[in-house]
């Protein structure tokens, strides 16, 4: 084996095809530190001009409380143009501080980027609502809806986090979501029990993952290829079975009983936070649990240490007696199970039956969320929320009638992700061994 150590192994000696190897290549070599301050300044200016100076003269109204809340807060009223100016000036201030830090050769701190993002979103929201025909929306509804839409994204991105942290690129999130949605629908329909459906969805997601794991770990097939092909395969299988089995007897095979929304008394009445945290379906509550468990697991436990070691430096893990490929296999499988649960959200919570391509590309948004969240479960959670927010806003703006075409709102997650991977929004570093199969010796 050592004979091949000096000569490149033909099997893996083609660094260009392995993404990470590619990424390790010197690019133009320009230091990335300037990108963030410059981007923040540009966005601040955009906000100042469009959201501020070109803002509407109307007053944007944001309903905070809903009828069910146990105490009522007044509607928030913001004059659109002055509001936009104030917020964008704050943004420019932050951008200036980032530039100042850069001149001192210090990077932009994370809190600054986060605060900037929040301000930008707020300014954008004021601008959108202020420019609408009916400049009034329910903030509570908007946020609650965003969380709802984010549920499958969060599960999907957690699956991605688990896989990539252990060194396997998971492009098959879409397939796992779709497989979970289909299986949840058909099993819940047959058993007339949504909980069995939920469990079956996890199993289905895990099964999809196992195919990914077997092909990429045992047969060393390029992980991106397996992921891409698996998405097609799952789309084909579910589409085929939908057309044959489900359509033939809808009542029997495609009318799953849904998971009910469980309200926690009193707590669910807290304005804004109540509906998000305490008025969810089982899947929604599981989402919070999963985020916390995965985060704690990855960063605070023995298991997590080993997982991250395998994803960063599998050889080092191997020499410490850790079974690299077994660790990878089970983590990828676990990731699939989590994504499968996320898929069940479509058929057990959101809609009461399965249709073809019900996941509608959300697996790819989950992938985006995972990257935007920098391979961290909590980061991925907030990224997914942001994307869910964009998704929700898209449907709301069409209703209230605003200057922004809804298609551009729909584009937002994808654009943001491109900016993120281009290193314009902070630096993101994937686990070092992600995408590279481990061959002993």
């Amino acid at each position: 084996m050592s004979a091949t150590a000096t000569s490149p192994l033909p099997g893996r000696g083609t660094p260009g095809t392995s993404p990470q190897a590619d990424e390790a290549q010197p690019t133009s070599g320009k230091p990335g530190l300037w990108k963030t301050p410059v981007l923040l300044s540009a966005l601040g200016l955009v906000a100042f001009v469009f959201f501020g100076l070109m803002g509407s003269a109307q007053t944007a109204r944001f309903g905070i409380s809903t009828g069910g809340d146990f105490f009522q807060l007044p509607t928030l009223e913001v004059p659109a143009m002055p509001g936009g100016i104030v917020l964008s000036v704050l943004m420019l201030g932050l951008a200036a501080y980032a530039v100042y830090l850069k001149t001192k050769a210090r990077p932009t701190p994370a809190w600054l980027t986060v605060t900037f993002t929040v301000l930008f979103v707020a300014a954008f929201l004021i601008w959108v609502v202020g420019g609408a025909r009916t400049p009034s929306i329910s903030l509570a509804g908007l946020i609650a809806g965003s969380v709802t839409l984010a549920v499958p994204l969060v599960f999907g991105s957690l699956s991605g986090v688990l896989c990539e942290r252990v060194g396997v690129v998971n492009i098959a999130i879409e397939g796992q979501l779709l497989g979970g949605a289909f299986t949840a629908a058909i099993v819940a329909s047959i058993t007339q029990n949504p909980f069995v459906g939920l469990l079956a969805a996890a199993v289905a997601g895990a099964a999809v993952s196992m195919v990914l794991a077997v092909f990429s770990i045992k047969y060393l097939v390029n992980q991106i290829i397996v992921g891409v092909v698996l998405n097609v395969l799952i789309s084909g299988v579910t589409g085929f079975l939908f057309s044959t089995v489900m359509q033939a007897d809808k009542a029997k095979f495609n009318s799953p009983p849904g998971l009910d929304i469980v309200q926690i008394p009193i707590l669910s009445g807290i304005p804004i936070l109540g509906p998000i945290l305490f008025k969810q379906s089982l899947v929604g509550y599981l989402m919070y649990v999963a985020v916390i468990v995965v985060w704690v697991g990855l960063f605070k436990t023995k298991w997590g240490l080993r997982v991250r070691a395998v994803g960063e430096h599998p050889q080092a893990a191997d020499t410490m007696g850790i079974k690299v490929n077994a660790t990878r296999f089970w983590n990828v499988t676990l990731g699939g199970a989590i994504a499968g649960i996320g898929g069940s959200f479509f058929t057990l919570v959101a809609i009461d039956s399965f249709t073809k391509e019900i996941s509608g590309g959300r697996g790819f948004i989950a992938l985006a969320a995972l990257i935007f969240g920098r391979w961290n479960p909590i980061g991925a959670f907030f990224a997914a929320l942001l994307f869910g927010f964009a998704d929700n806003l898209q449907s709301i703006v069409t209703i209230i009638g605003t200057p922004v075409p809804s298609q551009f709102m729909a584009m937002l997650p994808y654009l943001v992700t491109v900016l993120a991977v281009a290193g314009l929004v902070g630096r993101s570093r994937p686990p070092a061994a992600s995408g590279i199969p481990y061959v002993k010796g």
Partner: protein
């Protein structure tokens, strides 16, 4: 079959002293396909000894140790601990049996802290599987204090210098209560001074009861620290030696013939200085000056060798000349033409021949044919191309003549370059670079991982290029190669030029310069008295030292896995 993993908490001084173990390898044979890497090797490591495995890099030492550490399964033979046969199905088993290993390439996760790296695989946990790094930190401090390691448990490994990383590796083994510690070529990345410190640590470990298997090809170190020496050549044990044996004896055992291989090199006749580097500074993306204000020049018909421990700016220096570095200040003049700011293609076209330090990464495309690799930097020039249209026939024709000229051992130029041995790969790179008229020739680590036979050939070609009147720059971390080839020697330390000294300068002076001490100070320190007590030069005649050094370096250059022409 095996003991359960020893809970790391049970490691106390008393148990360490009591539980010394005897390790025996009996008839170990390891085959990779048709390649016989280890051939019935017998080694006995007595408790509390430093046992050296001496041999060329391709001799099979590392393979043997990977078998012992459970990374490879032996094809035949058995491992005995305290006379009881054991079998290791993985490093976990080996560690549980009390064997620790510090690999040549460190097995540390760069983005983890020291404590996380040490804990990995032998974590102490609280209830529910939660990590208890406090416990690991305490152990690190304990070991660090005992041996004077000075390691911060919470530092990120990627921020640590290599010397400290190596100590982290040793701590990893000690925390696991290793009673036999394997050190695989541990001094390759160290300065002579750091090497001395490591040898001290080894002696300390020995005195506290840890046996050490020390893999090396550096005779000085081996003689300084070993209790027993086993010499391995071409996968076989060729004999035992004692540290008292002469350097020449050890060298000839290692290489397999009487060693008198000095390079037949006429004195240089330097002509005009056509290559000048002035105040060259290279700035890394993190703002560090990897090359810091260097000035030197090379005359036509002269070899300037650049010495230094790896990672002191050599790579960046050559990359700056070639145009691969982005942030370069100062001036590089070749025939009075400025090279700074030009593209790689321009620099190559200006007549610079370049042999990169890592041929499989920078020098060759493994999946391309030899023929294609032979034109890798001239594929778009006549006669190989007209416009953007290439002529395969001409490419093949060129390959045939180059393969003959440079004696590349291959049945066909159509074979993938990756299938060649290290020596033949290097010949391909060298053939490509030397097959056009050059105004400057730069070779980085020209013989690293190359077998003894090829080294002589490559060295001759380098000298003949000099004799044709080309300025030649050699970069080598092997001091002996520098001393053999150089007409003048430049020493780099932390990106700065410590000094340029004439070819005859002694090893000790160069060693001190490699640690950043200026030539004058180094020379006076050297004259003041012997710097190192274990320098063998006093006990062997000078000629013998030189030959031995040559043999040693050649041994070092041979690649892993029996790279024979």
């Amino acid at each position: 079959m095996l003991q359960p993993p020893i809970p790391s908490g049970s490691c106390t001084d008393a148990s360490r002293l009591v539980r010394v173990l005897k390790l025996e390898l009996r008839g170990i044979t390891k085959r990779f396909g048709s390649l016989l890497a280890n051939d019935h090797i017998d080694v006995v490591v007595e408790p509390g000894q430093i046992h050296c495995l001496l041999g060329e890099n391709g001799a099979g030492k590392s393979t043997l140790m990977n078998v012992l550490y459970g990374l490879y399964e032996p094809s035949e033979g058995e491992i005995l601990i305290d006379d009881k046969p054991v079998s290791f199905r993985g490093p976990g088993d080996a560690m549980a049996a009390g064997i620790g290993m510090v690999h040549q390439h460190f097995m540390l996760v760069p983005v983890f802290t020291v404590a996380e790296n040490v804990a990995l695989g032998a974590e102490t946990t609280k209830a529910g599987g939660f990590l208890n790094l406090e416990d690991t930190r305490r152990k690190i401090k304990q070991i660090s204090d005992r041996y004077g390691f000075d390691v911060d448990p919470d530092a990120l490994v990627e921020d640590l210098p290599v010397g400290v990383q190596q100590r982290v590796e040793i701590i990893k083994a000690l925390v696991r209560d290793a009673r036999v510690l394997i050190l695989d070529e541990p001094t390759a990345v160290l300065t002579p001074q750091e090497t001395d410190e490591l040898l001290d640590i080894m002696r300390q470990l020995k005195s506290s009861g840890t046996s050490i298997v020390f893999i090396s090809h550096k005779l000085r170190e081996v003689k300084a620290v070993s209790d027993t020496i086993t010499v391995i050549r071409r996968g076989k044990v060729v004999g035992s030696a004692s540290p008292g044996d002469s350097t020449a004896e050890l060298a000839s055992m290692m290489v397999g013939r009487a060693v008198s291989l000095t390079l037949d090199k006429a004195p240089a006749s330097p002509k005009e200085k056509t290559f000048q580097v002035k105040d060259l500074t290279v700035i890394a993306p993190n703002g560090q000056h990897t090359v810091d204000g260097i000035s030197f020049d090379i005359a036509r018909g002269e070899i300037l060798a650049v010495a230094g421990v790896q990672g002191n700016g050599q790579t960046e220096l050559t990359e700056a000349i070639l145009g691969l570095q982005d942030r370069v200040q100062g001036s590089i003049l070749l025939d009075n033409v400025e090279l700074v700011g030009r593209s790689v293609k321009d620099v190559l076209n200006a007549g610079v021949g370049f042999v990169p330090e890592d041929r499989s990464v920078d020098g060759l495309i493994g999946t391309f044919s030899i023929a294609e690799n032979l034109i890798l930097d001239r594929y778009d020039q006549p006669p190989f191309a007209k416009g953007i249209s290439m002529s395969p026939a001409k490419v093949l024709e060129n390959a045939k003549s180059r393969i003959d000229e440079f004696d590349v051992r291959t049945p066909s130029g159509l074979l993938a370059a990756g299938t060649l041995s290290g020596g033949n790969q290097q010949k391909v790179v060298m053939a490509r670079e030397l097959s056009r008229p050059l105004r400057l020739f730069i070779a980085s680590q020209p013989t690293r991982g190359v077998d003894v036979g090829s080294i002589e050939f490559l060295h001759k070609r380098i000298v003949s290029e000099r004799d044709q009147g080309t300025p030649v720059m050699i970069i080598s971390t092997e001091l002996d190669e520098v001393m053999e080839l150089a007409d003048r020697i430049a020493v780099l330390y932390k990106g700065k030029l410590v000094g340029i000294v004439p070819a005859g300068t002694g090893r000790d002076v160069l060693g001190l310069m490699m640690a950043g001490i200026s030539a004058e100070d180094a020379a006076s320190a050297d004259h003041a008295g012997p710097v190192k007590a274990d320098t063998p030069a006093t006990e062997t005649p000078p000629a013998d030292t030189k030959d031995a050094a040559t043999a040693e370096r050649r041994a070092a250059s041979s690649p892993e896995g029996g790279d024979h022409v």
